[in-house]
Symmetry: C2
Subunit: 152 residues, 2 copies
């Protein structure tokens, strides 16, 4: 069963999935994103970035998070109701132009809603890794997920 076809009751704590899709960071897109949302010198000014602790241009963490989301959406289907937020957002290593990113999903918790019988909350750890297998970002969001619709 594809992840996108799953409903709330199809998830089990401890499952781990490697999402097949990859995303390669494009240098021009990185710059444009940073100019729009996060114009710090280490995101938008190649020369100034060389003098910082990063030694060169890196992606805005919000761009990296958006790419994580893009890869995640390849696994989401009609059961997904969005997220109220999450814990342990970590930007662990710089993301640079040309990096190839992939997503690993680990199911941390599966909890039925006490107030809404048609849904529950999955908590997952999302780890975004680069081509060297280094985790560059991780996040543990809660994800509101519908139960399988009954046939009546």
């Amino acid at each position: 069963m594809e992840l996108s076809e799953r409903w709330f009751e199809d998830w089990t704590v401890g499952e781990v999935f490697d999402v097949p899709e990859r995303h390669v960071m494009d240098g021009e897109r990185m710059l444009a994103f940073a100019r729009e949302f996060d114009p710090q010198r280490f995101h938008v000014d190649a020369e100034a970035a060389r003098e910082t602790i990063y030694g060169g241009l890196i992606a805005s963490g919000w761009h990296t998070g958006s790419v994580l989301m893009k890869l995640l959406t390849t696994t989401l289907g009609p059961a997904s109701l969005g997220s109220p937020g999450g814990q342990n957002l970590r930007w662990l290593a710089p993301v640079r132009a040309g990096d190839e990113l992939r997503l690993r999903i680990t199911v941390l918790d599966v909890k039925a809603s006490t107030s809404k019988p048609d849904r529950g909350v999955l908590t997952c750890r999302h780890e975004l890794c680069n081509q060297d297998g280094q985790v560059v970002m991780s996040f543990e969001p809660a994800m509101m997920t519908l139960r399988r619709p009954t046939g009546d």
Copy 2:
């Protein structure tokens, strides 16, 4: 003193700042961001979105976070070294086209680095509010911040 001119030692726990800049969510930009990074039906399909729990199109949470970052960068100067991540990311209320967003910053913790004498870590609560005063997103990142350079 402008926030962007502060160094690590200029921050005090409990301070609260209302950032003067505002950001109005543009409907076309919301759609384009969501098509690129988060093409869930409640972000990209106006008709399908009406049938969801959101009752219409809402911004991707990563777009909202990027706007929070944009407002935050108006307060950042040479002391800012970026963020290793944060806790308690909450998407509390839908963000829709036309919403006018502003940022409130509360200083939660100020901690000198034990390993790097030139810097410390600020932990702030960032609250993004809409035109009705409703908090639509909050996040508590750690922010690596340089001490004032010595004159020698």
